[in-house]
Symmetry: C2
Subunit: 196 residues, 2 copies
DNA sequence: CCTTGCCCCGACCGATCGTTCGGTTACTCT
DNA sequence: AGAGTAACCGAACGATCGGTCGGGGCAAGG
């Protein structure tokens, strides 16, 4: 009807190719020439679909941020005891990290050299801060240990979760999203020795 | 006597400047022009001290890797019960990460675009594998939980420890090396809810 | 004093960067 | 069939990339 399904690139399909290359070589280490080779079209053709290299980055990190902030709007993240909301958010973060893996990977690697990157860093900090508030509330309820400073614990937990992008690969059918989410939840709340 | 202490750059002092800029802008995002501005000497003068940009990277990641592998040679990492050796290694990793912060930071961010970077990645994998063996031994002893796969647990613990380079800043006298090492050890082995 | 050698510099190299432009192909619609 | 247009291309833009070159300044040793 309206879309007769042409075998051609859209900004979205082009983005998926670009993000893959960005993650392989790093954003700064990727030239438009690299992207054109990976996409199978000429360098100049890329500009028919997107305004430039930075727009590809902006689209990618936006998608990742939308996924993460979407978690905080879900019901289980808004109502209930703080510790349970925290556990829900941690689990959902793992799920979003995996379902949007390449986009979140790119988000977690921006350094702040351009306006787009600085904006991404700012939004990331905002998300971290929201989750830190949740952990603080759980600590106030006495549901998580109080002998480790909340800000420090938040950063370490984020570090563990975010590190998933460094090694998780969806192709090898050795490990599922559920298994990773379970392991993270157990380690975060129970530790290596805990039993819960 | 032999060295009359000239006020000039050595490969080492130049390296400390370069690593700082590399971490701020990313290795690929840093030009020799950026380095020359930061060092206060001309671009061509840099080549009087080092062979090129990649040598600076190699020196930096070598220093980081020497620090990490040095841990495994220490007595407490070689003798004793596996779980105790693991805890010692985890604590020392935090200490080395902090004492060699900029160098380890750079090491943890290489992507593998050049031979130097691929060599760094390979050595990192070797180190990870050694520590994973330690965790596996502790699991075999029954000292750490067995319901989380060893390989997965190792990666998550590494993720938590390595994330320190993303936020720890030595200048603000708000947090000491000891405090971070304690927090990591408690969270890794006891979790958010554990008491140990 | 003059020489030696370290440290540094401006100017420049070919290559590559992200981007632009004019024009061609190929498909859709009437 | 002819018009219109989305998709694409090769060539080239100015800027910047990592790196080279010949030479100048200056402190140390004689």
């Amino acid at each position: 009807m309206t879309t007769a399904k042409r075998d051609t690139y859209t900004p979205e399909t082009l983005l998926s190719v670009a993000v893959r290359v960005f993650n392989e070589r790093g954003y700064d280490g990727t030239s438009m020439e690299h992207l054109s080779k990976a996409a199978g079209i000429s360098k100049s053709s890329i500009y028919h679909h997107v305004a430039g290299k930075e727009e590809l980055l902006r689209r990618a990190v936006s998608r990742a941020l939308d996924g993460l902030f979407g978690i905080l709007d879900e019901e289980h993240a808004r109502v209930g005891r703080a510790a349970e909301r925290l556990e829900y958010v941690v689990r959902r973060m793992v799920e979003v990290l995996i379902s949007e893996l390449p986009y979140v990977t790119l988000l977690l690697r921006v350094r702040g050299n351009t306006d787009t990157e600085r904006w991404a860093l700012e939004r990331r900090r905002e998300f971290d801060h929201r989750v830190a508030g949740l952990l603080a509330a759980a600590a106030a309820d006495g549901d998580v240990r109080g002998d480790v400073e909340v800000r420090l614990a938040t950063r370490l937990v984020f570090g563990m979760i975010n590190s998933i992008v460094e090694w998780y690969r969806p192709d090898g059918r050795g490990m599922g999203e559920r298994e990773v989410a379970d392991a993270v939840t157990q380690l975060v709340f129970g530790g290596l020795c805990g039993q819960r």
